[in-house]
Symmetry: C2
Subunit: 414 residues, 2 copies
Amino acid sequence: MRQTQLFTKTRREAPSDEVAKNAQLLVRAGFVHKEIAGVYSYLPLGLRTLNKIVQIIREEMNAIGGQELVMTALQDKDLWSRTDRWDDAKVDNWFKTTFKSGGETGLGITHEEPLTRIMTDHISSYRDLPVYAYQFQNKFRNELRAKSGIMRGKEFMMKDLYSFSKDETEHAVFYAEAREAYKKVFERAGIGSRTYVTFASGGIFSEFSEEFQTVSDAGEDTIYIDEEKGIAINKEVYNDETINKLGLSKESLIEKKAIEAGNIFNLGTRFSDVLGLTYTDETGTKKPVVMGSYGIGPTRLMGIIVEALGDDKGLVWPIQVAPFTYHLVSLGHNGDEVSKAADALYDELTRKGVEVLYDDRDLRAGEKFAESDLLGMPYRIVVGRDGVATDQFEVVNRSTGDVVKKSRAEILAL
Amino acid sequence: MRQTQLFTKTRREAPSDEVAKNAQLLVRAGFVHKEIAGVYSYLPLGLRTLNKIVQIIREEMNAIGGQELVMTALQDKDLWSRTDRWDDAKVDNWFKTTFKSGGETGLGITHEEPLTRIMTDHISSYRDLPVYAYQFQNKFRNELRAKSGIMRGKEFMMKDLYSFSKDETEHAVFYAEAREAYKKVFERAGIGSRTYVTFASGGIFSEFSEEFQTVSDAGEDTIYIDEEKGIAINKEVYNDETINKLGLSKESLIEKKAIEAGNIFNLGTRFSDVLGLTYTDETGTKKPVVMGSYGIGPTRLMGIIVEALGDDKGLVWPIQVAPFTYHLVSLGHNGDEVSKAADALYDELTRKGVEVLYDDRDLRAGEKFAESDLLGMPYRIVVGRDGVATDQFEVVNRSTGDVVKKSRAEILAL
């Protein structure tokens, strides 16, 4: 895409009303726009990254048998009353509103209830199980504070997958598959090496839930990591009993700040019991369906990537989630030889299907480089007078700062 | 996809609480699930169709220079107060709610206000114009009645594009391009021949707005069509003056019921004036930006396709929006020769990238055919004992009912 065509502009200064690094950088770079505290629009570059994150997650969910659907924000009060999650005294972050046609509704904070009800229409026999269904959908949570940028929004995108299994054994097999799928997601999103399966409090149905925690100074959680085994314990269950149970030893655990990037939960029959989601087994006996839930917030994950990888010059995108792989920066002016060479390189790369953001504007080199650092594409290709003369162009790695020189032919073969 | 893997089941009976044909058929076929009156979830088959509609619209919007972004549902009360569209006395279909952190918010009914404000950060010079930006985003409208299924939901997906131009002349050029792009969308979605550019009341900024009206008995609007010229007049502006102005004659106009499938509006400087969206022109003069808005609801369009093409046996999908192009129906049982032949055909078609829904279940032929008609894929391929013996398989056109016989090689070459 030509930057002369891109409508967003960057800002030199961080917005004064943002404290989180992710929001400061994303707003400065024109990736997101703050509508209200904790509520962000995604502008073209931001949406490109968000869509790439979504696609990575979608592929990994499909690979473990997930079927995609999409549920609604508006929720049925009666349904949530049955599971005792409507009352503000029980769940304190609903946005509630009323229908002009009468009655209350609320904006979905999660979707166990509606999906369990949908499944009562479709699951009746052991032959119908297991089922894995997921969605990408905007959740609403009426948070009191909003100081984490897109990492904790009042309106944010969630990928929530729910599993429906015959029994604990069948459930356990999928639960383990989901864990591996999540590892692949974080690996592909560029934060695999700093993200740990972390044992946390489990709720009512199992001793532990599993979180995926990404090490970052911006983290709200404290975790204790066993680097060698690649697992961690959340502070909330960090005690001798847990350490022993997991076969770890206190000496090898390192305390770090971390951000929760995903979680997987055993739900047991909490929802199927109350909402009547049962099936008839091979012997004709009616049994409740065993459920699990598996969440990753794509918008939150985008924020975590910025927190973990961004530096003092700006955003740093891993290749698989970058809006564009290359930032082609022309130092030409007004259609001179350099501009023409840059135009030609852009056209050829684009024709080959390579994703290139092309800075074809007539600005000073220093300004262009500073903005290029801020936008954070993985590689910058500089087309200047020397490069055109010698057929040796600088290719700068945004993450490491390494510079290599490549010929036009080498760039086209990348 | 194998139907033994698809979690949704169909129903023999239409749900008693649905009056609209689109909702009756889509719920029966397991494409959508009603959460609350006027609020529908999209199940895997429904989501596939919705995504295809979205992709058609996206391609056509990109082709006329649209840049995709996505804004939020939660809206800033102060912003909407400035344009005088917050007060319930002025706009009567808001869902309003409150932040726990204090203050009111509402769920976006449309997005002129927030996008105009976003553009004040990015547009300042004539060099920044024109800009065309669009989104696919869920709108919320607190409708009193909900009897049109997914054609008029309280929560529904909208593609809304907004144009930002220097002056009326530049605006008019894009407006005409958008009209042509819309025609292409309806053509590709399979309802082009029954959809008419229809002149309707224009609001404050122009004499007429343009609607795209699709002829259907379920229509809420009445239009007067000139078949030869391919345009129509909405009843609301149907009078001698309009007829003359458009160069039509009363005698050639036919009255029909129709459903609004899209619309394009001149907004003039209504929003840019109030919200301060100005630019500096070539002479250094500050001017307000001239705007337009262009809407198509993908969920509504899906409902219109069902209303227009569905028959008494069920859904009828045009090829470009069908969840799958082929419905491969095996009449085999328990791994017999017929099942094996169907399995092999499914595998080969899928390997070739052909989209096939494969009914691999062990059910009676009559039941399978009835369900296949209900689901409405464009072509049904029947694999039975005779077909396997003679290498001549029935291929049934869902829309026309035409049956042709094709060999395995011919099917693979389709």
